[in-house]
């Protein structure tokens, strides 16, 4: 355990040390780049503020990911089952990823208001795509011989899907979910910056014009820690889910 923990800690310590020295020696105005010590102080002093806003962002991210996973899985299965749908929907899905969210996010706020809905829409829009692509590829990679075998054993299309294709595509789908989790946090901040009254993205945006730079950086730290936590939590879930296969 100690052997696995010390390399990243060492790297972190060296980076933070260099950063501290750079800011303290006047290399940059600390209104632009706060020193690690200032950020640590802000983390402690603003802890309840940060936690309250993390809770808002965490809800957006959590619900947004659930929405994106559901949407992504349904779409992947739909375009796998029906060629017509694949031809009709795949280009649209790719196109949806080219929509500039920086423009779309404020428009959504005008449309549906300052609540959680525009945040969920933005997160789902960014995150469904990796889920669709990886799950669809996973389903597509099913051995055609396996389908033949299932047919000769008397399986219906649905049984063949449930017993062979879906479990075979599961690892790919989970990889897609991990990518989705990592980018969902960006989506949340983007959506909050377009119009909101709370959340870590909102907090950052408020802190900078108020010259509370350390607080903005503290919010970034909390956000990054949250993303890392989510990513590894999903990795853990993945091992539990797939671990049954090899044990």
């Amino acid at each position: 355990m100690i052997r696995r923990v010390w390399p990243p800690l060492l790297v972190l310590a060296v980076l933070l040390g260099a950063w501290e020295v750079y800011v303290d020696s006047g290399g940059v105005d600390d209104l632009v780049l706060a020193a690690p010590s200032q950020i640590a102080t802000a983390l402690w002093d603003d802890r309840s503020l940060l936690l309250d806003n993390l809770w808002v962002t965490a809800q957006e991210v959590g619900l947004g990911i659930v929405l994106a996973l559901a949407l992504g899985l349904v779409l992947a299965v739909a375009i796998d089952w029906f060629d017509v749908l694949r031809r009709a929907l795949y280009p649209l899905m790719v196109g949806s990823q080219a929509v500039p969210l920086i423009i779309l996010a404020p428009l959504l706020v005008y449309w549906v208001g300052f609540g959680i809905l525009p945040k969920l829409a933005i997160i789902a829009l960014i995150c469904f795509f990796p889920v669709v692509v990886t799950t669809f590829d996973g389903l597509r990679a099913t051995d055609p011989e396996l389908r033949k075998l299932m047919r000769t054993l008397g399986a219906t299309r649905w049984q063949s899907f449930r017993l062979t294709e879906l479990p075979a595509a599961l690892p790919a789908a989970l990889s897609g979910a991990r990518i989705a989790v990592a980018i969902a946090v960006i989506g949340a901040v983007l959506a909050e910056s377009a119009g909101s009254t709370s959340g870590l993205g909102h907090l950052m945006l408020q802190a900078i014009p108020n010259l509370e730079t350390p607080r903005a950086y503290a919010a970034v730290v909390v956000l990054a820690a949250f993303a890392v936590l989510l990513f590894y939590a999903l990795g853990l879930a993945e091992r539990r889910l797939l671990g049954k296969r090899s044990s």
Binding site: L149, G154, Q159, L163
Partner: protein, 235 residues
């Protein structure tokens, strides 16, 4: 054919310009083991898929009792245990996982797989995987088994072991069997009759009964003589 056999009359199957099988006729009576030998590319696998209803003939007719295919590769599902893989057809038949396992267990043990119930396919040797695949095929409950080069990917020693094992398994669980192989010796050891197919288009050039009683060894005089006749017919 409702008596558990299989019958093909004047069957032709084309893929574009390629004639895979031409005017092919043969009958396997219930309980008979028919080996189909021929060089690769003579439409042997197509023949099995026709019997199993996975393909339709372009001409002629296929009448068969329900038939199940055992493909060349074992195609075991890597995330299921050996017993679950064997019980796959029972799951498809609508049983719950636990009930399917229990129903599969006696046959699993009769086939000499006892002790490997919980093993994953990746932990099994090639020979053991083929045995599990055969158990899965038998448990489909269909009276006609179509075996496509079941031991093609195994080394010579394991293959000889499994041939003996299959002969015993079929003695205990009699079925109509159409066994496709390129190994004339395997055909002579296991089958009641050997059909020799020409390549492209596949036609029957010889239909050799195997006179010797079971069990047979590859070194029996009758088997050796038959092997020679089949090889001559292949040339």
């Amino acid at each position: 054919m409702s008596d558990g056999g299989t019958s093909l009359q004047g069957v032709t199957r084309r893929f574009g310009d390629l004639v895979a099988l031409e005017d092919l006729s043969f009958t396997a009576r219930a309980g008979e083991v028919v080996a189909v030998v021929g060089a690769s590319g003579c439409g042997k696998s197509t023949l099995l898929e026709l019997i199993c209803g996975l393909q339709r003939p372009d001409a002629g007719s296929v009448r068969s009792a329900p038939a199940v295919l055992m493909p060349q590769r074992d195609l075991l599902l890597p995330w299921m245990s050996a017993l679950d893989n064997a019980a796959l057809a029972l799951r498809i038949g609508g049983r719950r996982p636990a009930a399917a396992r229990e129903a599969a267990r006696p046959l699993f043990e009769r086939l000499g797989l006892g002790g490997f119930e919980r093993a994953r396919p990746a932990e099994l040797s090639g020979g053991m995987r083929q045995r599990v695949a055969f158990a899965r095929t038998l448990l489909s409950g269909k009276p006609v088994l179509c075996l496509d080069e079941p031991f093609g990917a195994l080394d010579a020693l394991t293959r000889a072991d499994l041939q003996t094992w299959l002969a015993q398994a079929l003695a205990a669980e009699p079925r109509t069997v159409v066994l496709v192989t390129h190994d004339v010796e395997e055909a002579a050891v296991l089958a009641d009759r050997i059909l020799v197919l020409t390549p492209r288009p596949g036609r029957v050039v010889a239909d050799l009964p195997v006179p010797a009683a079971r069990p047979r060894a590859a070194t029996d005089d009758a088997v050796v003589a038959l092997r020679r006749r089949a090889l001559e017919a292949l040339r």
